[in-house]
Amino acid sequence: MPNGTNPMDTADKEQLKLERLQSTLNRAYKNVPFHRKRFESHNLTPQAIGALEDIEKLPFMKRADLGLHYPYGLFAVPLRDIVRIHTAPGTGDRPSISGYTQADLLIWKKLVARSLNACGVTDMDILQIHLPAGLANWGRDYKDGGELLGASVIPNSMLSLSKTLMVLRDYKTTTLVTTLAFAEQLTDHMFERERHPNELNLKRIILVGEPVTKDIVKDLEARLHADIWQHYGLSEIPGPAIAHECGDHCGLHICDDHILPEIIDPATGQTLPAGTAGELVLTTLSARALPLVRFRTGDMARLITEPCGCGSPFIRMEWLTERADDYMIISGIKVSQEQTAVYLKQALGISDPDCDMERIRLNGTEALGISLVLDDALFSDEIKNLEQLMFTTERSLTENLGVPVTIRLMQKRN
């Protein structure tokens, strides 16, 4: 089983990537009209891709494409092969659906296991997963991966903060998978209760969902007495653990035997040389059900081509905090401002709401704060009605986006 420490010859890896890229493209072309049309509109067939570099000939795929082919339009296998269906918030009025075949699940289980293994998780560890509702899918993946490693997994469940803390302490959890927001909330909670980290067996925390700056990491590590590891994932396909940190903690290793990364200039779409910061574009190399070809993540990153001190053959990236799109990351979950606006429109029943969005802290956890300008269309004489409307809207948005939402009404601007 290839893992982070297994030395893999660069040439071997390049070869493997090419093999997988070609078969992915063949399958996509053969089975998915969307991909075939894209090839045809560029006068290409999969045979034109004879080397990894040739991928630049292909057009990009955007998040919006997922929504456009809602629900199963991009599946490369018949529905009866699909064994799991995940939903993630999309860009437009439709969410994006991703499906998994048996083989997909198997592969991702292995990938997650590899990522966990890279940060030292073994079958001796007790792995606790605590992720917000919007990242529940990832929770399942981490569970599977952990199980594959032989670790004792405490699956994700919607427990209260104190219950979670209790489990963390009493079950002698050694590894916690969570988001930054929750980690901070937990820390705050613990210190509020005057609990000391020493009571915990916690050795490491795996942070998912958003890039975390060095300062915050240091701060958290100092407070919790645990190592912090970052994992990078996509909510669409296939899930978490696309990239993981190694013991050297300098950049995230991308599992580029299964996911092919590229860095492009978000404005022009040109591929950028290694080492330049730009938008991360990913191509799945082994996904069966939903192959992504040159998928623009919206995340900004920089590839590091120098070999890593840990000896892992996987290429590293530096995950940058800024974004190439209008997404906000709230509690590790990507939220599209555009889509939020759409939902808002639907919920409020008005054509063009004027609003601002920001990430806010709400009761220790992160939430999406929407400042809505109260205009004529919205204004209602009955405050109650208005409150009711805001309440239902908040609930609806929370459900759709998977993050808590609060709406603040504002006066008309000048």
Partner: protein, 263 residues
């Protein structure tokens, strides 16, 4: 008797009735007691792993091999004593797995050769060029051109067949086979060597041929094509008939899966 009459005469009896066909090669059974029948107007897929005996079966139906046992009843006639060219005249045409067009001849000429059994000019006709010869020739050319039109090859009519891309050659083979006014057309891996688009076009052509009332039997490895256009699929394995049914039934048949994928 014209083809039209023949077609009317056949009513609903199977156009091809294969009964207990057995063929031995050096003591080894290449075909073991195979029986099936094909109703007029359908497309029948014949599939099976390598060495299943599909080509041998084709060769027996077209009269190239004589079966060691069993018989082939074509359109009500026992074909046992018939030579290949007599079978063609009776209405069986075929194409080949590897394109076997007459490469140095033009497409038009290829189709004209396909009309061999429906024309009669011989040596003296050729030398003397009597008026009936010219009339026959003219009619044949017209018919050939209409066939090329039908298959969409008319633009290449005067190009040597060997110079055309494979896809068009495959189509041309079908045109040539159609030239003998077949009642039954046997297609041996028509999609071999074709790309996806060509395969799709081929499927459409086969459907169009079916619309002309030609019954077809097809050996094909491109399963999306075979399953897509067949009304009925027969599966051979190791010289035996393994299963028969609609494509969907076949795809879910355990025995078929085992034959293909192993146990």
């Amino acid at each position: 008797m014209t083809n039209q009459d023949l077609r009317q005469a056949q009513s609903q009896q199977p156009i091809l009735d294969v009964q207990g066909l057995t063929k031995l090669f050096g003591g080894v059974k290449a075909q073991d007691n195979i029986s099936f029948s094909i109703e007029p107007g359908i497309v029948c897929g014949l599939i099976g792993p390598n060495g299943a005996g599909k080509t041998t079966l084709f060769n027996m139906i077209t009269g190239i091999y004589a079966p060691d046992n069993g018989q082939v009843i074509f359109n009500g006639r026992n074909t046992r004593k018939m030579a290949v060219h007599q079978l063609v005249k009776a209405g069986i045409a075929r194409t080949f797995q590897h394109v076997e067009l007459f490469g140095s001849m033009t497409l038009l000429e290829n189709v004209l050769v396909g009309m061999h059994v429906r024309t009669r000019c011989g040596f003296w006709g050729a030398v003397t060029r009597f008026p009936w010869v010219n009339r026959e020739e003219k009619a044949a050319v017209e018919k050939a051109e209409s066939l090329l039109e039908f298959t969409g090859l008319i633009d290449d009519a005067h190009k040597p067949a060997g110079d055309l891309p494979v896809g068009r050659q495959k189509t041309a083979e079908i045109a040539r086979a159609l030239a003998s006014d077949p009642l039954l057309l046997l297609l041996d891996e028509p999609a071999a060597g074709l790309n996806a688009v060509e395969t799709e076009n081929l499927g459409q052509l086969i459907r169009a041929v079916k619309d002309r009332g030609v019954t077809m039997m097809l050996v094909e490895h491109d399963m999306s094509l075979a399953m897509g256009i067949s009304d009925k699929v027969i599966v051979l394995d190791q010289g035996r008939k393994l299963a028969q049914g609609t494509p969907r039934e076949i795809q879910n048949d355990e025995a078929v899966m085992a034959a293909y994928l192993g146990g």
